[in-house]
Symmetry: C2
Subunit: 194 residues, 2 copies
DNA sequence: CGATTCTTTGAAAACAGTCAATCTGTGTGG
DNA sequence: CCACACAGATTGACTGTTTTCAAAGAATCG
């Protein structure tokens, strides 16, 4: 179970991991199995864990006054998931995070993470790297939101993250893109005719 | 000139700055004056500097095939500006950054910054803090883009960053929001009547 | 003042959203 | 194994919002 996490850390850092580092990481991260539709975090709760997806697919979303869900992020294997803001400030989250497939996550409590994991230099290097990539991805998503049509955004997404389109139903993808499921359906059908 | 920068660093870190730290920072950052409309970075160039705005207002934008500008970010005093991706990878930038008012920036070359500035622990702490805030702000902007109307987004922006609305013309604000200037004009006029 | 930039307005067209109905595929229980 | 329920996808008609294009009215600056 932990091998994927270790490999992931190595992939995103240059500092080698010692045997002791690996031991420490293994102790802090425990496996949690989530069934489809099960929450990892529900609106109003304080996010307590750093979580790494080993298997499965999850979504992060808000629910507005009318009860409509707005997909904030989608994640699959080898992604971290959680509400950073709620976790670092211990404030109630506005987000919901649930499993869209049966999912296995490795979770570490904030205390364990801060005390034993984040001091490891490969880890802090990895976190900086991932924060950086995350910021770039968000920037790109904003760019496409403010300057591209629904159609272009869909094909951008489909080529950047093909696994999302394969593993999540269209109404979820539509919400991620900020359009309705009907519009997405029509966009796709128009394209077929071209 | 450097006092603002030093104050900014102190504000976003807990580690104290030594006299030597301050000296080092002052040596690395030199003042550059930009006139309105002058570029700090132009599409196709490699971003060479970390820049901190001491006075003035700048915009960061892309230009599409049709020649239309899309505002990616707006910045005023006490903000950092640059293309992080181009800077760290030494790749040609897709972005343009220019001054919207006569602007003073403190610039440090990448080499100087990496060698003399970023090792200062108050600085690395500050950078982490700012990266974190930046990611939150981007996340929030995405949330409003995918789930709110043009009107709500405008009023969100106006209350979060009133200085933007005061210092940039409406067509710039509209582009930042991903709507046309005509739509923004109408949104504002409708609101007055309510 | 004249030139430029910014803002507003109008009318038509394009686009996306809503609501309701139908169709499809999947899986569960009788 | 079938019937039924359920989730997802599609379609049509309608509504509403946003864009586009063109023109004209402020405001600002040299």
């Amino acid at each position: 179970m932990h091998e994927l996490l270790i490999a992931h850390i190595k992939k995103h850092s240059t500092t080698p991991l010692t045997v002791a580092d690996i031991e420490g990481i293994k102790k802090c991260f425990t496996l949690k199995k989530l069934r489809k539709r099960q929450f990892l975090l529900q609106e109003g709760e304080v996010c307590k864990y750093f979580a790494f997806i080993v298997k499965g697919a999850m979504r992060k979303y808000t629910v507005d006054e009318k009860g409509a869900e707005h997909i904030v992020a989608l994640s699959v294997e080898n992604w971290w998931i959680g509400d950073r803001e709620s976790l670092t400030n211990s404030t109630p989250s506005k987000l919901n995070i649930d499993a869209w497939e049966d999912t296995n996550v490795l979770i570490a409590t904030k205390d364990d993470f801060v005390t034993y994991v984040s001091p490891i230099s490969a880890i802090s290097e990895m976190l900086r790297e991932l924060d950086y990539r995350h910021a770039l991805a968000l920037q790109k998503r904003i760019g496409s939101n403010i300057s591209q049509s629904a159609e272009q955004r869909y094909y951008d997404l489909a080529s950047t993250y093909p696994e999302f389109v394969q593993r999540f139903p269209q109404h979820i993808i539509a919400s991620y893109l900020g359009i309705t499921k009907e519009t997405l359906s029509r966009v796709r059908n128009n394209a077929v005719k071209k």
